[in-house]
């Protein structure tokens, strides 16, 4: 599968309620092998809001732009791969007890 097929897919919870769209995919780069393992998906209300990543970084300048873009991206969260039940061409389905994590990068 290629990344852009996953991006912008709608995300549904276990009972089929739409809770957002995939805005980004998080990977972990292994220090030794350099392999990039998928960690989870970032979910937001709109697909376009988050490209500058202010809600995921500690960058706060210029303050007005940062605040505006954070506000645009409010309500976005990270879901770990283990909480993803299935990926279908028309959407990503999560497990019943999926957990929301802060989208912030470590």
């Amino acid at each position: 599968m290629i990344l852009s097929e996953l991006l912008q897919l709608p995300v549904l919870d276990a009972v089929g309620t739409r809770i957002g769209v995939v805005t980004d995919v998080r990977f972990a780069l292994d220090h030794d092998s350099g392999d990039a393992h998928m960690l989870g998906v970032l979910i937001g209300r709109r697909s376009r809001a988050t490209f500058l990543g202010y809600e995921r970084k500690t960058e706060t300048a210029p303050a007005l732009i940062a605040r505006f873009l954070r506000w645009r991206a409010r309500g976005s969260f990270l879901v770990l791969l283990d909480d993803v039940r299935s990926i279908e061409p028309d959407g990503v389905r999560l497990r019943t007890d999926y957990r929301r994590y802060s989208p912030e990068l470590p």
């Binding site: 490209f51 500058l52 960058e59 300048a61 210029p62 007005l64 732009i65």
Partner: protein, 410 residues
Amino acid sequence: MKAVLGLALGVLTAIGGFVDIGDLVTSSVVGSRFGLTLAWVIIIGVVGICLFAQMSGRVAAISGRATFEIIRERLGARVGFANLVASFLINLMTLTAEVGGIALSLQLATSLQPTLWIPVAAIAVWLVIWRVKFSILENVTGLLGLALIVFAVAVFLLHPDWQSLGGQLLLQSPSQGSETPATYWYFAIALFGSAMTPYEVFFFSSGAVEEHWTRKDLGQSRVNVLVGFPLGALLSIAISVTAAIVLLPHQIQVTSLSQVLLPVAQAGGTIAAIVALLGFVAATFGAALETTLSSGYSLAQYFGWSWGKFRRPAKAARFHLTMIICLVVGAGVLLTGVDPVQITEYSVVFSAIALPLTYLPILIVANDRDYMGDKVNGRVTNFFGLVFLVIIVIASVAAIPLMIISAAGS
């Protein structure tokens, strides 16, 4: 001497970017119609371009990324592409106008038809890009462009009524003012657009990469910006003033390049006129080089192609092919007989529309520690950056409506 030549990138960017054919004509038009009442726009414009050119130069020196790479990285493929299309078309229009400007300047020097000069000019621009080293290119055109200082000298030789000029600076409109507000603001945006034309930052940041600037060169980058652009603004204002002194009282509204020359001739005679002509040729030639390179830079950086004059052409084949095609298209358009002066008048207004998508990514990346480490923007820079972003957005939104209402300033 080395320190002086080190300023060349800034001076060339400013001479070719600030005082190109569009600015020669627009400044003169504005001076002949509004006196100095619009000079404040040039001053605001120069502060803006200094601010953002400095940022883009710093980003290029620290991260090695030129402006259009940043635009794509921050705006994404789609919005970046929209910006690419807009910038590229404006750039092509400006390139066409500059090649036409070289031809018009040579016509003034020889009275041979511009149609004869157009192919010569286009081929000369290509040859310089093809064969001449970046540093020679910037030094020669930058130094020759300094001939335009003759406009500043002319202001003094004309013994103007300083008090009246000062009054115009404070927005007391000169007596012949029969212009509508829409026209006034239309020209304000044209001047602002011509001061902040996006290709100046494309060129300046890519030039910094061409010259392999690093963290060590930050100081030089700053001096380049702070000397080059204000110099350009000064020349631009001087051109306006000469037009305001000589042409405005006769109600001569400037419509062609030949009229720009008349005040200098009146002030300093044949020699001054010849020096000014040399300046015209150098400035339009410099701008033609800049816009041609910028067309290659923007396309190559968006698509990730190999680019740069420091590489031999075969090592940056798509980059060079782009520039050849642009020059051929520009020359072709000119040979249909369009008036280069008219093209510039539209291209500066269209530039105003494309400004936000260029300057927002620069501001954001200049704050990103991944790119900049500890050299991120300070608070003051960010404050002014935001202020200018607001001005830029207003200018960009107002450009088209004002163009329609004022019938493009007629």
